[in-house]
């Protein structure tokens, strides 16, 4: 661990306490998924948005709901379907018959944490409306513009298996997501723990009836941190030091994505910015006030993979973007410039 300045040391220590509390709270409801929690926190701390790709039933919604309650954030969930309209998310103007004037009815996007479930099921115009709001952080309803609440984080999900009747997000829109995390099934011991906890949920009495309790009932309503803690953490991220050597690593990797023969579309400068922001937040989460190559390699897949497009030849050869990125990262130690100097 490095020495830190008193100001940043205080910030880092406070943030670590806050993070530990959040993690513990999430762990009481969600089993495993430490990496996903880390990625969500990175997105939250950096003001980026995250796209989670994974099959249904791996606690994506539960995780977002738990996180929002742990930090006292407003949470909304929108299930994207083919017949969804932009106004269903953004809001619309409705006629108030008493006053004979139009009143603005704000949509579910006016929240801190928005879970856009199965974003690829909605029509492109709905996706476009959401992604525009994500970038501009404001929404125009009728003739009036409204700022979205701060912090504002979109957690979008995509099911990578069922592609029928879906509208795949194009690269330009995927680029708006700072991170794209691919969720995996839990390890066996964690999955066993999920089942064990589910056995203990029991039944909740309601009025004269009873309902079987779900994991959502296990989420505590009392937050472990405030929005002020979150703002402190966001400020602490900006005090994390990024060395010139680290910048060179980032530039080298970005450059390689653009020159690799198997890649038709390499990463944009926005990918590099996302990588830097995410690395800073990860460093803070790991208790450091400076970034190291570990952050870069850990986040490369989430920051870069969704921004790369393979060439037809590479696809015909059976390559995947993940395998090409891994190959690219493996070769980073043997850069061509090093060869030339040697």
């Amino acid at each position: 661990m490095s020495k830190t300045t008193p100001h940043s040391q205080q910030n880092v220590a406070a943030t670590i306490r806050f993070l530990d509390a959040v993690r513990q709270r999430v762990a009481t409801v969600v089993v495993g998924q430490d990496v996903v929690v880390e990625r969500l926190l990175i997105a939250l701390f950096t003001g980026g948005h995250i796209l989670m790709q994974g099959v249904p039933g791996i606690a994506k919604t539960l995780l977002a709901a738990t996180l929002s309650k742990a930090i006292d954030l407003q949470f909304a969930r929108v299930q994207f379907t083919i017949d969804l309209l932009p106004s269903d998310i953004l809001g619309s103007e409705v006629l108030d018959q008493r006053t004979n004037t139009f009143q603005v009815l704000k949509g579910p996007i006016f929240t801190n944490l928005l879970l856009a479930d199965e974003i690829n099921r909605a029509a492109p115009k709905v996706q476009g409306a959401l992604l525009e709001a994500m970038q501009e952080r404001k929404v125009t309803i009728g003739k009036e513009s409204f700022k979205l609440p701060a912090p504002f984080l979109v957690i979008a999900t995509q099911n990578p298996i069922e592609q029928a009747g879906t509208f795949e997000l194009p690269e330009a829109q995927l680029d708006r997501f700072m991170l794209c995390h691919r969720l995996q099934y839990l390890p066996k011991h964690d999955e066993k723990e999920v089942l064990r906890r589910n056995l203990m949920l029991g039944v909740r009495r309601e009025a004269k009836g009873a309902i079987a309790r779900t994991e959502f009932d296990a989420i505590s309503d009392s937050p472990v941190g405030t929005q002020e803690d979150l703002i402190s953490a966001m400020e602490a991220v900006h005090h994390v030091h990024v060395s010139d050597a680290f910048l060179d690593h980032v530039v080298e990797i970005l450059d390689r994505t653009r020159k690799h023969p198997a890649i038709a579309l390499g990463c944009s400068p926005r990918a590099g910015i996302a990588m830097l922001k995410a690395s800073r937040a990860r460093a803070l989460i790991h208790g450091r006030d400076f970034v190291v190559p570990d952050d870069l390699f850990a986040l490369a897949e989430d920051c870069l993979l969704h921004r790369m497009r393979l060439s037809y030849e590479a696809l015909a050869d059976g390559k995947t973007t993940a395998s090409v990125l891994e190959e690219l990262l493996t070769e980073v130690g043997a850069s061509k410039s090093a060869l030339a100097k040697a």
Binding site: S2, T4, H241, F246, E326, G333, A338
Partner: protein, 260 residues
């Protein structure tokens, strides 16, 4: 007056070289302007030296313009005007000369046609050979292109084969020790050192994000990485003896990583 002008014009035209042809080969005399009523060829007999016919006729003021086709039967110089007469059988009057020359290909004593000269027959067929030649040229062209392409690629490939990880690391370490390594070079040195340890611990096939965690956990590699963190990345770095840190790598030999 106009008739005189037409006669002078016709005379001027026909004062040119006489039209020449050989026996039996038709020839044409055009632009013959003859004043007065319409002309026609006189009857041809078996002994006529020239067979004449009017190819075309059109009005030319008060005169007529003729295109005369003639075929010579006997060699000699003739005046085609003598082979014309007016259709109305009136007097021909003053007519310009229409000189023509009929030449003989054979001597007068030769009555048989010229003997055929033997000549080499044209090469018939040869399509297969042509295709083979074209195919060969195409193949040679293709090989030339491929050969030239490989030749260009051969140079960097040769360097890649020769430059091992150790070869690239040594000069970078030397520059780092003497303090002449810039920021980009330091970043590259760090990546090379990571590669060296991945090779040493046989972690080439492990994903990089997992390999670096394993390297951190390794006693010697972890110590190196932590020192590099302080030297290259830390916000408030602790003093690092770069020379002592990198000296073990200054004379490093290839450890099987090759040009990984």
């Amino acid at each position: 007056m106009r008739a005189l002008a037409a006669l002078l014009f016709a005379t001027a035209c026909l004062a040119q070289e006489p039209v020449r042809t050989t026996i039996g080969i038709p020839a044409l005399v055009t632009g013959v302007v003859l004043e007065g009523s319409e002309f026609e060829p006189i009857e041809t007999t078996l002994k006529s030296p020239i067979v004449l016919r009017i190819e075309h006729m059109q009005k030319h003021g008060t005169a007529n313009r003729y295109a005369l086709q003639f075929t010579g039967m006997e060699a000699g110089q003739y005046d085609l005007a003598t082979f014309l007469r007016r259709k109305d059988r009136s007097d021909n009057g003053a007519m310009p000369k229409i000189p023509v020359v009929i030449e003989a290909v054979r001597d007068d004593s030769q009555h048989e046609p010229n003997a055929l000269q033997p000549m080499k027959a044209r090469d018939v067929g040869g399509y297969a050979r042509t295709m083979w030649l074209l195919g060969g040229a195409w193949a040679i062209g293709l090989l030339a292109i491929l050969f030239a392409f490989r030749k260009k690629k051969a140079a960097p490939a040769a360097i890649l084969r020769k430059a091992t990880l150790a070869d690239r690391l040594r000069p970078a370490v030397a520059r780092a020790i003497d303090g002449s390594l810039d920021s980009e070079g330091r970043a590259e040195l760090e990546r090379l050192l990571l590669s060296v340890w991945r090779v040493r611990l046989s972690l080439q096939d492990v994903p990089v994000r997992e390999a670096i965690v394993l390297l951190r956990a390794h006693e010697e590699a972890g110590e190196l990485l932590r020192a590099l963190d302080q030297w290259l990345h830390a916000k408030s770095p602790q003093p690092v003896d770069v020379e002592a840190l990198l000296r073990p790598y200054s004379k490093i030999e290839d450890e099987g990583g090759g040009a990984a």
